[in-house]
Symmetry: C2
Subunit: 424 residues, 2 copies
């Protein structure tokens, strides 16, 4: 395959003509496909179907006799903590169990820091300008939280081993208004990359001008492997403790993509001092989380091994979808040198980079023929991808047949946008 950049002008024009005719043909198919969000498929949700009926009329107490129907227990059931402590790789006192969404725990942690400051901080964050480092491409909902609350975002390149640490270290060392960094450290959204041990250690140990700096460690995909070639992520809390910065990290996770996306269990971890701060804030906000739903999870998974076994079933459903996306990209775009795409060992996304200045056009063209993609730029702060090249592909929800059609559309659109660019 010849790289597109080596085509003559005439060859490019001929190619464009073919592509546009293919585009018109696709348009006639009246497709209606959605690859925007990392939603589990119905078949994945079916894997946890027994959880719907696992509690019986006699089965509503936890091991210590707590009536899970009633009020109380602001940070979760003891036996749920056992499982989730292992899940987050923290101690049982270094853990708080929330409601159905880890996003709520993240958002509320930012809010509480803004209004009250954090452990070891001298004042509420809101009393000065607040900035966060946002490794990009990254998770759009993290960036929305910052934008909504007026936190200035500083984009830093997010690569195969995690964020550009030279840049991160330089920034945090000199600016005490930088209070946090968002990280999806394993099978990142959308990069699919896992932070290297070196990146983890540098984040844990780096000198920060702000003494109340926090890492927001959204370990959303910690057990979400796609194959047996599992990425390993170094334990951030241990690394922070070793570096003498035990309060530096807030760790987040959930079962949203393990059990039910809308009815899972969100959890957070960190030093006991940090978790006591969280518990105090939580006690103003709630009398306690839904313990019956925690009990469903305990009875269904039994222990952390139960979760790991369960995740192999998810992988079996997701793997062919990820393979198909890559197959089509390989066959349609391979060798043309107009796009690169990730090959993650886990997570929910394939991240594609087009030639500069092509992403918006690709997403718009795909929409024109009925294929919805995540908005171009969504993976960057302020929805602004400076190179206008990153596209997030979310293959979990559509069927294989739908993925095939959608990815052909994506490939055709990438080629059209690229040819047009090269013809300019």
């Amino acid at each position: 395959m010849t790289a597109l950049k080596d085509y003559s002008k005439e060859e490019l024009q001929a190619e464009l003509k073919k592509l546009l005719s293919r585009f018109e043909e696709i348009k006639g198919q009246n497709l209606k496909l959605d690859m925007t969000r990392g939603k589990p498929s119905p078949e994945q949700l079916d894997l946890s179907q027994k959880m719907l009926t696992i509690l019986t009329e006699d089965e509503y107490k936890s091991a210590n006799g707590t009536d899970c129907r009633n009020y109380g227990g602001v940070d979760g059931l003891p036996e749920a903590k056992e499982i989730f402590a292992e899940f987050l790789e923290v101690g049982v006192n270094e853990l708080v169990i929330g409601g159905n969404a880890s996003l709520t725990l993240m958002h509320d942690t930012v809010v509480n820091a803004l209004l009250h400051g954090v452990v070891g901080g001298e004042k509420p964050w809101i009393q000065q300008k607040v900035k966060f480092i946002c490794p990009s491409p990254g998770y759009d909902r993290h960036f929305s939280v910052c934008e909504h609350h007026g936190i200035e975002m500083i984009a830093v390149a997010n690569g195969a081993n995690g964020p550009d640490m030279d840049e991160v270290e330089k920034l945090v060392a000199s600016d005490d208004s930088i209070k946090g960094i968002w990280c999806v450290p394993k099978y990142g959204n959308p990069t699919g990359a896992t932070f290297s041990d070196e990146v983890v250690d540098r984040l844990a140990g780096m000198k920060t001008a702000a003494n109340d700096f926090r890492i927001f460690w959204d370990n959303a995909y910690t057990v979400h492997h796609l194959n047996d070639n599992k990425d390993q992520l170094k334990n951030i809390l241990e690394a922070c403790k070793s570096a003498g910065n035990s309060d530096r990290v807030f760790i987040f996770g959930s079962t949203s993509k393990i059990s039910f996306a809308g009815a899972g269990v969100g959890v957070m971890g960190g030093s006991e001092a940090n978790m006591n701060w969280v518990r105090k804030n939580l006690s103003m906000q709630t009398i306690g989380p839904d313990k019956l739903n925690q009990l469903r999870h305990i009875r269904f998974f039994e222990n952390f091994d139960g979760i790991k076994t369960h995740m192999k079933k998810h992988a079996a459903l997701l793997r062919p979808k990820f393979s198909l996306v890559r197959e089509i990209l390989d066959s349609e775009l391979g060798g043309l040198e107009i796009a690169t795409w990730s090959n993650p060992n886990g997570g929910y996304f394939i991240s594609m980079d087009t030639l500069d200045d092509c992403a918006k056009e690709v997403v718009a063209m795909a929409a024109e023929v009925g294929v919805k993609l995540t908005g171009a730029g969504a993976t960057f702060p302020y929805k602004n991808d400076p190179d206008n090249k990153n596209i997030r592909l979310a293959p979990s929800l559509p069927s294989l047949e739908e993925i095939k059609k959608a990815m052909e559309v994506v490939a055709v659109c990438v080629k059209i946008a690229s040819v047009k660019k090269l013809l300019k």
Copy 2:
């Protein structure tokens, strides 16, 4: 029965001797009773037991086909909105369904107002001094939210028809830092009183110096009647609309004391403009609430009539407990003129006023013999009951036998404290 104040000094001393001997006898019983919180009893929770098993492996979609297991629907399922709109007496677009706790909705509404301001406000509340009016005695958790977030609380007398409106009107008219008022308008916690139509109208219509003033209307006990003599509460949203202040009120409710206290559904209502503000804030915090739990409620109650029928079963369990409390208070304290207590038609509490300066001693003495009561002062801002006389009695959780013992202790302690006071 002779009023205690008409006893001679000798008679009081003789009475005290008898009471102290009774107190010592009770001490020997090693009681361990708890009347601190408005928690439903296990028998009440049993009323909703079928909700635990009502979803089946084929029953997880809502009427419009939504897969309730998956992400989405930030403000709730359409069919859940139908029921809860009737429940809150608002339109379906004037409603947002949250997680398992209305306290979370209240807390987060305060937080969002602090950080972002409310509809029609010019700036975030936090940019100036913020004060709330707190009709007292009132709900301790409302006051904790204020105290935690540095909102200054102004106590106003809370009587048989609601707050002292002359005082409320005077305060809000002159001070634009007063941004809110906490109300438990029906079967109030702890007064048991329901706001009169006049109070509702005056709250809705009063002139406020702050143009971003809000009523926090915690209608926690709207269907929680104890008998057929039901209190009627005027519709606050309608009253606000009639007065041209449609954005003035945030209404809150939940099924915590209808279905399961720890696994109910929290809801809030208000003008569509207010609810759009809530929806926007919520969309930063969550991808959506637990729709499966909403579905359990829909399937179990079917409609609002189902809720009302269900509440009669709660009343049948609660009524004898409330009657017993009053029986013992009547028989032990009647005619002594040392205490008054409420006789509510609904809700979860009986509010007792002792002679001035006796409440703390009563609660401490009761604790000494193993009967835990809500802390004296807890029903006032900053835990400060200026007359030190209010005691909140929560009869829902203990059994009849336990209530009998606990209330005898309360009566004896009230008598001891009163006699001691009169002997001073």
